[in-house]
Amino acid sequence: MTIKVKFFAILRERAGAGEITKEIEEGSTVADLWEALKKDYPGLAPVATRLLYAVNQNYVKPDYALKERDEVVFIPPVSGG
């Protein structure tokens, strides 16, 4: 299935991309997607911890099962204000 991934802030810089699509096996979780992306973008590996996950603009748990065309964003520690 095809998943849309957007990168922001430090992850955008580390990945060298703001928005990508990724083919991933049916039944994959959002945590599986992150593991797969770390192989595609080695620069992401050092920031693996302390991430939150958002699917279609809502926070989800790491075991969230992805669906075709989901929009996924990995959220490093926020620092608004």
Partner: protein, 143 residues
């Protein structure tokens, strides 16, 4: 009104937005960029957001504040892009029948923004730059 914008924030616009005949108080909070942080001399802050989700999360904060306190209206605008020293990066306005609810809801809103809203600031300081991560209290190392 809950939004992120690249333009300078107009405080009066937010105050107008929450003005309500049944309110006896309007509390506002303005977050401004400070010229120093942890011993570093800060030149500017550069904010980035996941804008669609940030606006949804800001609106969620407004809904939660309405459940917790007797407030009439809330408005929050967060600026993104480069923000120069002493300029507002975030403005919150809350109206309520009574001041206590307005103050408490306003305080709640800024604390929640710092915890849950997908907005990040890069601190540009003398000698470098760093993405700030307040969930842990530790800056993430730059590239």
């Amino acid at each position: 009104m809950f939004r992120v914008t690249r333009e300078p924030i107009d405080l009066q616009e937010l105050v107008r937005c929450v003005t309500d005949p049944s309110a006896g108080a309007i509390a506002t909070f303005i977050g401004t960029t400070r010229n120093n942080n942890e011993g570093r001399k800060v030149i500017a802050l550069d904010y980035e957001a996941y804008p669609e989700m940030a606006e949804k999360e800001l609106a969620r904060i407004g809904e939660e504040a309405k459940r917790k306190w007797k407030i009439e209206r809330m408005a929050i605008t967060h600026r993104i892009g480069p923000v120069q020293i002493a300029e507002p990066s975030v403005v919150i306005a809350v109206s309520a029948a009574h001041r206590d609810d307005a103050f408490q809801a306003c305080r709640f809103a800024i604390e929640e923004i710092k915890k849950t809203v997908p907005i990040w600031k890069k601190e540009v300081f003398e000698g470098g730059e760093v993405w700030i991560g307040t969930q842990t209290g530790q800056p993430l190392p730059g590239r």
